[in-house]
Structures are given as structure tokens and as C-alpha cells.
């Protein structure tokens, strides 16, 4: 009876498929919704956010200085709290006997400067007798006299607000309080520790300036000014970070960049809500359009020349204090395969190298996948003699090609990761070990075939040629996806993977500019700088996709 019924039921796989047909879209929908919600909730601007609870010892922003020397000093002491690195130096101004004090953070300020230009004039030179009457009259005259006659320092400010005083002192400014004077002076003495300007590590060039950004924002903006001497270069300053404030500068050419683009960047920067943007990577991820995409929608670079080049094309650069990485928006896919050197070399060699990079990007993405699909699905597509060699070399390899390729690819990724993290003295040792593992040993041990070693080596070398490091990581990740596609469906799978990838690239946008431009949408003028870099004489227009205010490079 039962068997009769069963025989009328279609095969169970059909039921499973029908179930999946219904369930999978619903599940996907739920998943994507959930993702979207979590993404929105974490970074979006919330108008009615409850303000953080007031701490007891915090200084209220409205608190003013009283003008009474002793009281002010006490309230400053109280506001700064029990901080060992804050120094209070009290002295009397020579000639009048007026008491004064400077407050500063040791280590953040330039002691020499303060000694010679603040302490010395006040303590040693003092006020000549003829002028003393000036000094005793009122708070305003004292203020005017000191700032105009006694402090030979370029940066000087006056404040009445206690909070501002505390914040500036903690940022490296020296504060000067004088008896009988309302408020305090803030004297620019901050001396940021900065390293020398060196060649950027992550983007090495053979030909080109050996200059890279440093961690100090002022240095970086200075570099931009130095390398792009143009009155239209605009550096707009912002502050980001809720708890730890960081300076952020948006740089663009005001007569080139599309105002809409600049507005968009400003809006997105202002929407950033985060405790502390440690590095420009934080900014990058908070302002990009598609969080789920493996492709970066903001380019990062250590090279001022690259930034200047981008600015002149009509892009916008974002510099953050504390990191040598500047961000460039919008970015298109072709930019990730371009190096400044393309433009420094002659156009034929530059174009050749660029084509080479495109080829190697394809190899880095697809070589292991193609290997797997040829070996496992389409042995008939390999030239006969090569097929015979491969068959012989794969004798005794115990794994199917996917596992084999995974072993080697994972091994080489581990090696690379280790190579980055390792302290310098151990580096060469790892190179030897890695070389042995990847090279002969794995083959001799019979784990992988010699042919695969070639494939893996070519893949690894190819992925090193990509000039933007983060784009290289993307390709490395996608390579594994391609391998799985290949292992399941062979060449058909590889083609499907590539189509999916292309369709994703086509819908992706970076700050409103299509990621795949100038290919999709097609911009014939922009193709001059796509795969082949045309002679500079021919490239008379700025990229049209950026909609620049001034479309001509030469007037």
C-alpha cells in the first residue's frame, strides 16, 4: 500500500527544490533587510540623540573666567584635574610686580620657543618705567599692551572661556594668565612630533617623487600646497569624532571640482558619527556607498603626487590627522590598476605596463579557477601534449584539484600575511621556509602537482603587480570565490562568476560616479586614459565622468 503511494510521489529532490524556491528568496530578503537595518542604525545621523550625561567634574562650556587671578588659577587647576603632565609656572612681570602664570602640557609644547619669547620678555626685560602707567589702568589696556608689545610669538589668541582654555592647553598651547586681566592668552606653542618625510612604503615607484605623507596633518597639507602650487587649491577644515576630535581636511580645486561632488563629500563627512576615527580607513568605510561590496569605493594613497593628479582631474581628497593615508573620491575601477608611473614614463611603455597590469589582475583573479575547471571538468580543452604532461604530473596527488589548489593558495596567503607582520630580522628566514614549502617540498611530498605550483606562483606574483594594495586584497578574496565556482560548475561556473562580478561592478557607484566608467557608461573621451594611456598631448580633456567645472586641461 505504502509503496504504491510512494511510487506516485515525484522524487524527493523536486520537493526540496520547490521548498527552496519559496524559502530562499524570503530568507535572502530577510537577511538583506537585517543587514540594511544594522548598517543604517550604526552610522546614520540621528537628530534626536539623547545627550551624554553630565559628569560632575566636567567643565561647563559656558563657564567664564572671573578676572580674579587666584580664583581663575584655582578653577583652571580644578578643571584640568589631577594631571601630572600639566605644569603651572608662576612668576612676576618685571617692572610692575604683577603676578602671572603660564599653564602648559609638558611634552606637547616647544619649550625653547616659550622660554625665549614668552618667559624672557616678561620676566627679564619687563616693562620700562615710562610705560608702566599703561599697564596699571585696566584689563583691556593690559591685554592690548601685552599682546602688542611683549609677546613676539606669531600665534596668539585671547579667551574668556574656561573650557576653551583647558582644551587648548591639552592640545599643546601655552596659556598665560595675568593678574588684573580678564581672561587669558593662548599662545601657539604646540610642537607636534613628526617623522621625516620619507618614500611611501605601500606605493613604491621607480620614477617619481620620493615623497610620502606623514602622520601630521599640517605636514600633509603643506606637502599638497608645495606640490600643487595653485591659488585654487582649497583646503576646508572639519572636525570629526564625538569623543576624540580629529582634524580632517577636504582638498579640492575650487575651479575644477564639481560643486555637487564637493557638497556630497561635505554632507557625508558631517554625517560621520564615531567616537574616534583612528585612521582614514574609518572615514573610508563610513562614507562609502555600498558596504556589502568587496570593492573599495574610496581610494587611499600615501603619495602626494597621486593626490594632486586626482585633484587636477576634478576629484576630492580627504586628509585626516594622524595617518599618512589620504583618501580620494570618487574612484573608478580603472584607477585601481593605474600607477602614477604610467604618466611619468613615455606613453607607449606606460600603456604596455598598464595592459600588463590588467592581464595580471585577470590572472590573479581567475588562474586557479581556470586550473580547477580545466583539470576537473574539461580535460579535452587542454592541448593534447600539455594534457599528457599534466596527467603524468598529477599521478599520486591524493586530492581533487580544488583541495589541492586551496592548500597552496591558503598557504601562500598565510605566508604573505606572516611576511607583513613579522619583525624585520625574521623576514628572510620566513622567505626561505616559504620558498621551500611553496616550491619543491610540496611537490616532492606528493601533496600538489608541479603544474599547480606554477599556477599558484603566477597568481601570487600577478597579485603583487596591482598598485593599490587594498584592491589586491579584494582580488585575493574574490579568487577564492572563483575557485569554488569553478569546482562546482567548471568553466561554466567561472563564466557565471565573472558575469556576476561584472554586473556588480556595473551597478556599483562611488560618490555618484559609476564604478565601471568609462566603459559602462561609455565615455569615449575618457577612454584615452583607460587601458591605453594616450600621449599627454592628446589628453586635453579632464575625465568627463567627473563632470568638472573646467573641462579643458590646457587653456
Amino acid at each position: 500500500m505504502w509503496s504504491v503511494i510512494v511510487s506516485y510521489i515525484p522524487k524527493w529532490t523536486i520537493w526540496v527544490q520547490a521548498l527552496l524556491l519559496v524559502l530562499v528568496p524570503i530568507l535572502m530578503l530577510a537577511l538583506t533587510n537585517w543587514f540594511r537595518k544594522s548598517i543604517n542604525s550604526s552610522y546614520s545621523l540621528k537628530p534626536n540623540k539623547p545627550s551624554p550625561p553630565e559628569r560632575e567634574d566636567s567643565v561647563s562650556p559656558q563657564a567664564l573666567m572671573t578676572g580674579l587671578y587666584d580664583a581663575d588659577l584655582t578653577s583652571v587647576r580644578k578643571a584640568i584635574g589631577n594631571n601630572g603632565d600639566v605644569e603651572f609656572r608662576e612668576f612676576t612681570i618685571r617692572g610692575t610686580g604683577t603676578r602671572a602664570a603660564i599653564v602648559f602640557v609638558d611634552g606637547l609644547m616647544d619649550n625653547d620657543l616659550m622660554d625665549t619669547h614668552l618667559i624672557r620678555p616678561l620676566m627679564l626685560v619687563g616693562i620700562p618705567e615710562a610705560e608702566q602707567e599703561h599697564f596699571n589702568r585696566s584689563s583691556d589696556t593690559i591685554k592690548a599692551y601685552i599682546s602688542s608689545q611683549m609677546l613676539p610669538v606669531s600665534e596668539i589668541k585671547h579667551t574668556d572661556r574656561l573650557l576653551e582654555l583647558v582644551q587648548s592647553v591639552l592640545a599643546g598651547t601655552t596659556s598665560l594668565l595675568v593678574d588684573g586681566m580678564q581672561g587669558a592668552f593662548l599662545v601657539g606653542s604646540a610642537k607636534g612630533k613628526s617623522r621625516n618625510i620619507e618614500e611611501p612604503l605601500s606605493e613604491a615607484l621607480l620614477r617619481g617623487p620620493r615623497v610620502g605623507f606623514t602622520e601630521r596633518l599640517a605636514d600633509n597639507t603643506g606637502l599638497l600646497r608645495l606640490h600643487g602650487k595653485n591659488e585654487s587649491l582649497l583646503l576646508t577644515r572639519f572636525e570629526v569624532g564625538n569623543r576624540v576630535k580629529k582634524d580632517l581636511v577636504i582638498a579640492y580645486m575650487k575651479d575644477i571640482a564639481d560643486p555637487k561632488l564637493v557638497d556630497e563629500v561635505v554632507t557625508r563627512i558631517q554625517k560621520i558619527e564615531i567616537d574616534d576615527p583612528l585612521e582614514s580607513g574609518y572615514i573610508e568605510q563610513l562614507i562609502e556607498e555600498n558596504v556589502m561590496s568587496p570593492f573599495q569605493q574610496v581610494q587611499n594613497t600615501e603619495r602626494p603626487d597621486r593626490v594632486i593628479g586626482a585633484l587636477l582631474e576634478g576629484r576630492v581628497a580627504i586628509l585626516l590627522d594622524g595617518t599618512p593615508y589620504a583618501l580620494i573620491v570618487p574612484v573608478t575601477f580603472s584607477m585601481l590598476l593605474q600607477s602614477p608611473e604610467d604618466y611619468y614614463e613615455r606613453w607607449i611603455s606606460g600603456s604596455f605596463v598598464r595592459l600588463l597590469r590588467v592581464l595580471s589582475a585577470l590572472l590573479a583573479l581567475l588562474a586557479p579557477a581556470l586550473y580547477i575547471s580545466f583539470i576537473s571538468f574539461h580535460p579535452g580543452l587542454i592541448p593534447t601534449k600539455l594534457a599528457l604532461t599534466i596527467i603524468e604530473s598529477r599521478q599520486g596527488v591524493p586530492f581533487p584539484s580544488l583541495i589541492e589548489a586551496l592548500i597552496m593558495e591558503v598557504a601562500i596567503e598565510i605566508l604573505r600575511e606572516a611576511g607583513i607582520r613579522l619583525p624585520k630580522p625574521i623576514g628572510p628566514a620566513m622567505g626561505i621556509v616559504g620558498g621551500l614549502i611553496i616550491g619543491d617540498a610540496a611537490v616532492n611530498a606528493g601533496i600538489v602537482s608541479p603544474f599547480l605550483v606554477i599556477v599558484v606562483a603566477v597568481t601570487a606574483i600577478s597579485s603583487f603587480t596591482i598598485p593599490v594594495y587594498s584592491a589586491g586584497i579584494t582580488l585575493r578574496v574574490l579568487r577564492f570565490t572563483a575557485m569554488f565556482f569553478a569546482a562546482v560548475l567548471g568553466l561554466f561556473g567561472v563564466v557565471m562568476f565573472f558575469l556576476l562580478l561584472c554586473s556588480h561592478l556595473v551597478i556599483l557607484k562611488s560618490f555618484g560616479v559609476p564604478y565601471a566608467s568609462p566603459m559602462v557608461p561609455y565615455g569615449i573621451s575618457d577612454l584615452k586614459d583607460f587601458l591605453i594611456r594616450f600621449p599627454l598631448k592628446v589628453m586635453k580633456k579632464r575625465p568627463q565622468m567627473l563632470n568638472p567645472k573646467d573641462p579643458d586641461r590646457r587653456n
Binding site: P25, M28, P379, L388, Q395, S401, A487
Partner: protein
């Protein structure tokens, strides 16, 4: 929202594609037996087969043909570790397996009982048919499975062996793969006018469909070595082997059929009897069918340019214009002799047209062709053929006289 639905449907569609697909399972390249050569012989059971038959290991079949598959590389399954290039004994680079039966396909599947790894014919390069088998059975019968099969590429070369096909697929040379060797011989066409244009499966199929008589390259074998020599003639009506053309015939035929690009034409100088040889560099032949009423006749025009490549005359004769003219005529005479001989064989010995004369009639006189095509070979045998040969020596090599 709309975008997410689209994502979801794309993802689920691709997921379903994975589930519904038929080619889930891969087959690693080292787990298949790649065959590069296939030989078809009249039934001749190997010792192995006789032995197992005595143990009752047989199935109902007639003994019609023996198929030989050439498997490379000959993996024995023992996974011998190779020690660099210097292997101990020069072993064979291929493995010939034979089974007998009356269905080519059944024999192929029968190999599954015999070999641990399935046969794949993607790399099949050469099919050798023995003349003996082709005499008994029509090629259409023998090749039916091969033409239907999807695994076998239509670019596969078909040749006929004078003796058994197994012999043609065997070699004494260590490291040589006979199938690839035969395949490679075809590439020498620019050096010899004794090799007919390669007959691939697809060409064979269309030729057989058209009903024309045709040639297949003939392989002769001795002591494990092979040579292309002449061609086997197949009658269009039966698709059976009816005879062979010799190398000399083939040269004559190729002058008519093809634009010869190489090879040699040797003759003897008129007075002294010394050897002289001509190397055609560029030649052109046209077959012109002439129709008067129902009478068909042909005129063949052959023009060739080439170089005097060898001259044994002693004492040396300077290459004057007159001398060259003499030689040219001599070469023309030689070529004419070759052509006459092959035409004679075609028209009077075998009564077949394998020179493409019918094609020309079909192209130039399509209406007439419809009437004569049924009995073309016979019509052709009685058609008068005239020919003119023009040889031009344009070059004497690097000799300085």
C-alpha cells in the same frame, strides 16, 4: 527595497542553478584514460581475450571487428616514482588495448570492465582503419558510432592502414606515440606533394553524404615504423575500399587537384640522362569542364613556378635561357606522364572520380550535374580529358655559374 528583491532573486536563482545542474560531479584529469588513437581491424582476438573466453568471460556477440585504443600516458596504476629524466628502462609511452565485438560503442563500454579509468576521447587524434576491414564493410557502417559520438572531435584525422591498424598504432621507438606521429606527418604537406589534404571526420562525413568517391591517406608499416604511401580509394556508392593509388599516382593527382606548394619533381635530362629536379613553389591548376550536348569533357590547365633545385649534369651546363627552356619542357613532360598514369588508373582501372572533376561540373553546370550525378563515376570514366602543363623555372637556387 526593490533592489533587495532583485538581489534576492538573483542569488536564489544562482543557488537553484547549482542544485539543478547536471554537471555537479567533476572528473579529475588523472582519473580518466585519454585516448589519442583508435584502430579498427577485422576481428582478431588477442591472447588475453581468448584466455578469458575460455573462462566463460564473454557476452553474446559476433566477431566483426577488433578495436584498438591507444591510451596515453600508460599509467599502470602502481604509481611508480619517476626519478628525474633518467628512467630505468626505455618503456613505451603509450598503451594499446584491444577488444573484439560487433558494435564499436559496445566495445568502448566494454573497456570499462577492463580499465579502472573511463576512456575519454576528447583528445582522439587519429583513427586508423585497416584496408581489410574497409573492404568488407562500408565506412558508413564502421564510422556510424564515431560520427554520432559527442566526445570525439570532428577534427580527428582518418587514415587507412595497408596492413592491420594495430600495427599502424604500434611503434618500436621508445617514447614515441604513434597516433601523434601519424598526426604530425600531415604537417609535412608543404614539403611533399605525396600527402593528400588531411581527411578529418567532419570532411569524411560530408564527403560520404555527397556520394562522391574519395581518397584516404594510406599508411604502410614495417618493423614498427610507419610511412605515408599513396592513398586508398573508396567508391562513392558503396563507401568501401576498392584499391590504392601509388605515390607516383598521387603526385600526378595532386598536380590536378591541388595548388602544389612543395615537394619535388624529378626527371632525367634529355641527352645526357643526368638527374634534374624541380621544386614547385607555387602552382595553380584549373579543371575546366566542357559540355557539348550531353557529352562532357575536361581540360586541365596547370601552371607552376619553382626552382631548379638539383642538376647532376656533368660537365656543368650554364643556365642559359635555352637550357632552362629545355629543362622546363622536360619537367612538363614528366608531370604529364604522372597525370596520364593517374587518369588512366581512375578512368580505366578503378572507374572512380577522386580528383574533384565532379565538383567542377556541379559548380559550372548544376543542371547537368543533377542528371549525371547518379552515375557519375561511370560517366567520368568515359569523359575525354585533355591537359596542358606549364612549368616555369624562375630561380636556380644559390648556385653561381
Amino acid at each position: 527595497m526593490n533592489r533587495y528583491i532583485r538581489y534576492a532573486s538573483v542569488l536564489s536563482a544562482s543557488l537553484l542553478l547549482f542544485l539543478t545542474t547536471g554537471c555537479w560531479s567533476s572528473n579529475e584529469i588523472e582519473d580518466v584514460s585519454v585516448i589519442v588513437g583508435l584502430g579498427l581491424d577485422i576481428a582478431n582476438e588477442s591472447r588475453f581475450e581468448r584466455d578469458i573466453n575460455q573462462q566463460g568471460a564473454s557476452y553474446p556477440k559476433k566477431k566483426v571487428l577488433t578495436a584498438t585504443v591507444q591510451i596515453v600516458p600508460p599509467i599502470t596504476g602502481k604509481n611508480e616514482k619517476k626519478s628525474g629524466g633518467s628512467s630505468s628502462s626505455p618503456s613505451k609511452a603509450y598503451l594499446n588495448e584491444q577488444l573484439t565485438g560487433d558494435s564499436v560503442f559496445q566495445i568502448f563500454r566494454q573497456f570499462s570492465l577492463r580499465r579502472d579509468r573511463p576512456l575519454v576521447a576528447h583528445h582522439l587524434k587519429v583513427i586508423v582503419v585497416s584496408s581489410e576491414l574497409a573492404r568488407r564493410y562500408s565506412l558508413e557502417q564502421i564510422f556510424d558510432f564515431i560520427l554520432r559520438d559527442n566526445d570525439i572531435r570532428p577534427s580527428c584525422l582518418v587514415v587507412v592502414s595497408h596492413r592491420s591498424a594495430l600495427e599502424a598504432l604500434s611503434s618500436n621507438e621508445p617514447g614515441e606515440i604513434p597516433a601523434l606521429y601519424l598526426m604530425g606527418l600531415v604537417d609535412n604537406r608543404y614539403r611533399s606533394n605525396k600527402i593528400i589534404p588531411p581527411m578529418s571526420l567532419i570532411k569524411l562525413d560530408s564527403t560520404m553524404q555527397s556520394g562522391e568517391s574519395f581518397l584516404l591517406q594510406n599508411v604502410v608499416t614495417a618493423q614498427g615504423e610507419h610511412k605515408f604511401s599513396g592513398a586508398a580509394i573508396f567508391k562513392g556508392s558503396t563507401k568501401k575500399w576498392i584499391g590504392e593509388l601509388s605515390q607516383y599516382d598521387l603526385e600526378g593527382l595532386l598536380w590536378v587537384m591541388e595548388d602544389v606548394k612543395g615537394g619535388s619533381l624529378k626527371t632525367y635530362a634529355p641527352k645526357t640522362g643526368h638527374t634534374v629536379t624541380y621544386e614547385p613553389k607555387n602552382s595553380h591548376s584549373t579543371i575546366i569542364p566542357k559540355v557539348q550536348g550531353d557529352e562532357i569533357s575536361f581540360h586541365i590547365k596547370i601552371e607552376s613556378e619553382g626552382r631548379l633545385i638539383e642538376d647532376w649534369s656533368f660537365p656543368e651546363i650554364p643556365s642559359s635561357g635555352q637550357y632552362i627552356n629545355e629543362l622546363e619542357q622536360q619537367f612538363e613532360e614528366e608531370a604529364r606522364k604522372q597525370i596520364e598514369q593517374v587518369l588512366n588508373k581512375m578512368q580505366h582501372v578503378y572507374h572512380v572520380d577522386v580528383g574533384g572533376f565532379g565538383d567542377q561540373v556541379r559548380i559550372k553546370h548544376p543542371k547537368l550535374w543533377k542528371k549525371v550525378k547518379e552515375n557519375w563515376d561511370e560517366t567520368f570514366s568515359h569523359a575525354p580529358i585533355t591537359y596542358e602543363v606549364k612549368m616555369n623555372i624562375t630561380d636556380f637556387g644559390s648556385s653561381t655559374d
